[in-house]
């Protein structure tokens, strides 16, 4: 399952200054214990001439990478929707090309559901995982095996939500 904190982090994650604690590479040998202890609380910048490094908690780095991935996803969705709603065509080979299985009204429903979930996640009313679940559920709904479509046509499901 995706990291539950990712969405919250996009909105609320304090952006630490990366140059608050700066050490030289040679300091790593001289006072490694102190530097590791400090890095456990706040990122430490190891100043190397051409290639500075950051020593930081695994959790912090993985959260940062996760939120970046989600930001990319939302940017892709935004691009898809812009192209589609302006009549410039859908996503071609993009992450959201599966939305082409739906009509405009349904895409609006998807966006509306997603917006409500993101709003609730920001307000901590729901777990951020629910946002991922909504994208997943719509994506799954776009998949229609031939056998299923045939059966669906000859039965009349009664609405139950």
């Amino acid at each position: 399952m995706p990291d539950r904190r990712r969405i919250r982090m996009i909105v609320r994650m304090p952006q630490p200054r990366l140059d608050r604690y700066v050490v030289k590479p040679t300091d790593l040998n001289r006072r490694s214990g102190e530097i590791l202890e400090r890095a456990g609380r706040y990122p430490v910048l190891i100043a190397r001439a051409d290639d500075p490094l950051i020593l930081a908690r695994h959790e912090w780095v993985s959260t940062l990478l996760g939120s970046e991935a989600r930001a990319d996803l939302l940017a892709e969705l935004s691009g898809y929707l812009t192209r589609r709603l302006t009549g410039a065509g859908g996503d071609e080979g993009g992450s959201f090309d599966w939305l082409n299985a739906f009509g405009d009204t349904e895409v609006r429903e998807f966006v509306s559901e997603l917006r409500a979930a993101i709003r609730d996640a920001q307000a901590s009313a729901i777990e951020p995982d629910v946002v991922d679940a909504i994208v997943h559920e719509w994506h799954e709904s776009a998949i229609r095996p031939r056998e299923y479509v045939r059966t669906l046509k000859r039965t009349a499901p009664i609405r139950r939500r």
Binding site: F102, E106, F110, H136, E140, T151, P157, I158, R160, R161
Partner: protein, 106 residues
């Protein structure tokens, strides 16, 4: 014509409420369900128990109503990362669930 869906071995006994009866909408569903059981019996047993006990209870990302105008009323249960069950309620029998699709489409 519909027929009862086979209960996988190892399926937990029903809860306190009256269980739903699960039926297949046709031969292709029966075959797809047999393939599902063969591929992952434990997960199929969990799916069967879930649908038998509370088929219309959301479990985000696992059990949910499908979206799209032509699929309103159809629910999906994800057996594992490959196999799916799609089903709906039956107007004439409120304690029956009709499985419209069972199998692997990934």
């Amino acid at each position: 014509m519909s027929e009862p869906l086979r209960e996988p071995s190892g399926t937990a006994p029903p809860g306190t409420d009256e269980p739903y009866r699960i039926e297949a909408a046709g031969g292709s569903v029966v075959k797809g369900w047999a393939r599902t059981i063969k591929a992952d019996t434990k997960a199929a047993a969990r799916a069967f128990a879930y649908i038998r006990d509370h088929p219309f209870q959301r479990y985000p990302g696992r059990c949910f109503p499908l979206r799209g105008a032509d699929q309103r009323g159809v629910w999906q249960y994800e057996v594992n990362d490959r196999y799916r069950l799609r089903y709906s309620a039956v107007k004439s029998d409120p304690r029956k669930v009709l499985v419209l699709y069972a199998g692997d489409y990934h």
